[in-house]
């Protein structure tokens, strides 16, 4: 394995083609409701796409290229990753894994504080060497051309990657798919993974006979999610190919498919841009568009959706953000996480913690790993 330095780039031609497609978008009729109950409204989708074509700053590659990036072949697949070494000699290695519809771009605001706390108002003893790979089929990692790249195989690849970088004892962190991969990493490499910190803990709701008010609220949210919110995952888990054609061919379709989740899963009072800026929402959408990964990212659901709640036996920490998809109580979480050493419920934030509440997420990661590093 030889990691090659890598920089993200998009060409003027790619931007011009995107703008051309956006300007030629053929829109459906307006929805017959005046809210988001049928999905992302036409007026907002049009405004978002107008912005994307006309005044969006396509500078995300430059912001990413500030950090050292590489590509290496792991288990036969080209994997893209950020590798940000801390200036602190005793920094602890940490692999950060993003999810859907996210990317390594999510981590731009946490990389500095995690790797160099000394210059970010923190304690140098909390420093990490951070490795943040793009999931197979996502971002600038290769798209698997065979089946089998589920979370366990990805976890094994991450362990191989960390070993190749000289890290024989490390931590794992993630939300969304990153939570599943990080949990699996603890299972496939128990001797090397010191601990697993997650900002999504997907567990069964409604387990206990004497539910607390917050457990009841989480159960109600889970039922509503099952009733109205799981179409995207059901499609991606069963028919990723069928869904992907329209999303790969239509930037408006791709934007709508992703932006709806910034409404559904973030902490706001009605408008997603109150939680995550339009620039950052469009950055995430741009990653999926320019890498044409609508279908390849959806295939991870087809591969592994049944493994989202696999048991985690590694020393683990869970930080629960109030507007995330699911918000288990400590005792509910302990049914899945058998060695739960850190459990905190945060006052603000949602599914995209690194984007919404980067300072809080950094504090949570530092706090948990002080226990196991």
């Amino acid at each position: 394995m030889t990691a090659e330095p890598f920089e993200v780039g998009i060409t003027d031609e790619e931007i011009a083609e995107l703008r051309d497609r956006l300007r030629r978008t053929r829109w459906p009729e307006p929805e017959p409701v005046d809210d988001w109950s049928q999905g992302i409204p036409l007026a907002y989708t049009q405004e978002l796409c107008r912005s994307w074509a006309e005044d969006y700053d396509f500078g995300f590659p430059g912001r990413l290229n500030v950090f050292p990036q590489y590509r290496d072949t792991v288990d036969g697949l080209g994997i893209h990753f950020l590798h940000v070494r801390s200036p602190e000699p005793d920094a602890f290695p940490l692999v950060l894994t993003h999810g859907w519809p996210g990317s390594v771009l999510e981590f731009l605001d946490v990389l500095g504080p995690l790797t160099d706390p000394r210059t970010h108002g923190g304690d140098p003893a909390d420093a990490f060497h951070v490795v943040a790979p793009s999931l197979p089929g996502y971002g600038w990692s290769d798209k698997p051309s065979t089946t089998g790249w589920g979370v366990t195989r990805i976890a094994r690849a991450w362990d191989t990657l960390m070993g190749s970088l000289g890290y024989d004892r490390y931590g794992a962190q993630g939300g969304d798919w990153g939570s599943a991969v990080s949990g699996a990493l603890g299972e496939v490499a128990p001797g090397r993974v010191a601990g697993v910190h997650l900002n999504l803990g997907s567990v069964a709701a409604g387990t206990f006979d004497d539910p607390t008010p917050s457990e009841l609220a989480n159960l109600a949210a889970e039922k509503e999610f099952q009733r109205t919110g799981r179409g995207y995952s059901a499609l991606q888990a069963t028919r990723p190919q069928t869904l992907g054609y329209g999303l790969t061919d239509s930037p408006a379709g791709q934007a709508a498919w992703i932006a709806e989740k910034f409404w559904a899963w973030t902490d706001h009072d009605g408008h997603p841009e109150a939680a995550v800026s339009r620039q950052k929402i469009l950055d995430e959408i741009s990653v999926y568009w320019f890498t044409a990964s609508a279908t390849s990212s959806a295939r991870l659901y087809w591969e592994s959706f049944a493994h989202f709640r696999d048991r985690v036996t590694a020393p683990s920490g869970l930080s629960v953000y109030p507007r995330d998809i699911t918000r288990p109580s400590r005792r509910e979480a302990e049914l899945r996480f058998t060695d739960l050493r850190w459990f905190e419920e945060l006052p603000r934030g949602g599914h995209f913690a690194a984007l919404e509440q980067p300072e809080s997420l950094v504090e949570q990661i530092r706090g948990f790993f002080r226990l196991v590093r």
Partner: protein, 373 residues
């Protein structure tokens, strides 16, 4: 009457979009197990972009016996095929999704002029084929709280607009539900109904299930888990899905093609049941009328309980089950809701029976209504 005149510019625009389709990376899963097969889709898209003669099909569509009516302020489109006998029984054929009147024309002609198909003129029907609101040439319902649900629209169309005091009705898919509600609401007007699918009972005692009913419910649950994602998405976030399909003809065709293959008696080869021209004309009709988004509305209305649940249908009911259709409810299950007087299991055919097996379907409808005229 020309109902559809696509300009050269619109036709050129469609072809440009098809030729410029941006495709997902290949991923060799066997057959269609993760959704629409890229090889088959690419073949059809290439044909749609160049070889396919839209103008010939446009002329054929325009040559159909189109009519429009205003039903209490709601504009509706329908075809009318007059029966060859003066005392022909009026029948309304109610379409489903992703279908349209196109699929029902061969069946309608057999019912209207049986003597041209080896039958007797005495068995003829005057056939009305309306387009559901939001499908093809019937505009979308202006609001979700429209006081006239679709079955009431069709009753007023048949009873008041067309002056049929007593008539028959047939439907599959969404049309089966509408037909059932029509019969429940207007038993005095319906000679009988002929269904390809049945509404389950509003409630039932689990203890009372026969082994066959239990097997049916298990099969439905299994189908829903493996095949039902489209339904969940269309019921809950139809608008989010629609952007990509309204903007990408390849995406639209992929979405529809999957269903024509999965639900027909084609043994996995969609071409064995549907010609390329049929599939592309159906997709063109959805494309040029830009109705994929509005065609999802009945799913949303049902999911949100805006559609009346069928409780009890007392008019004579025939159920015809085609072996490749989505469900095979036992007679006893249908009898929990309907006054079943005919129950036919067909030797071949599937969900699109009117197109797949117009002769078998017409013979069954004819035999059923012979005693009800």
């Amino acid at each position: 009457m020309s109902v559809l005149t696509v300009s050269d510019a619109e036709l050129g625009e469609l072809r440009n979009r098809l030729a410029g389709t941006r495709w997902p990376a290949p991923w060799p899963v066997p057959g269609w197990s993760a959704g629409t097969d890229p090889g088959e889709l690419r073949r059809l898209v290439a044909h749609w972009a160049s070889g396919y003669d839209w103008r010939a099909h446009e002329a054929a569509i325009n040559a159909l016996p189109h009519h429009f009516a205003d039903i209490a302020g709601t504009p509706v489109h329908y075809l009318r095929f007059d029966g060859e006998a003066p005392d022909a029984l009026p029948i309304v054929l109610i379409n489903g999704w992703p279908s349209s009147f196109l699929e029902l024309t061969a069946f309608a002609r057999r019912l209207a002029t049986p003597s041209e198909h080896g039958g007797s003129a005495a068995d003829s029907f005057t056939v009305i084929v309306p387009s559901l609101p939001g499908f093809a040439f019937s505009p979308q319902r202006p609001s979700l709280t429209d006081p006239l649900p679709t079955h009431e629209l069709w009753h007023r169309l048949m009873h008041e607009e067309l002056g049929f005091s007593r008539y028959a009705a047939h439907g599959g898919d969404l049309g089966a539900g509408i037909t059932s509600r029509l019969a429940e609401a207007h038993p005095e007007a319906l000679a009988g109904i002929h269904l390809l699918a049945v509404a389950g009972p509003v409630s039932y005692d689990d203890e009372s299930l026969t082994p066959a009913e239990r097997a049916h419910l298990d099969a439905v649950a299994d189908w829903s888990a493996k095949e039902g994602a489209y339904q969940h998405q269309q019921s809950t976030r139809p608008v989010t899905l629609a952007y990509g399909l309204a903007d990408s003809p390849a995406g639209l065709l992929a979405w529809m093609l999957e269903k024509y293959r999965a639900w027909s008696d084609c043994g996995g080869d969609v071409s064995s049941r549907f010609s390329d021209d049929f599939l592309l004309t159906q997709a063109s009709l959805y494309w040029f009328t830009n109705t994929i988004s509005s065609s999802f509305q009945p799913y949303y209305e049902y999911g949100e309980n805006l559609t009346r649940r069928v409780e009890r249908v007392e008019v004579p009911t025939a159920v015809a089950l085609f072996p490749a259709d989505l469900a095979q409810p036992p007679r006893s299950w249908a009898e929990r809701t309907y006054h079943v007087t005919r129950y036919t299991t067909m030797p071949r055919g599937g969900h699109f029976a009117a197109w797949e097996e117009p002769g078998l379907l017409a013979d069954d409808v004819t035999a059923f209504f012979r005693d009800l005229r």
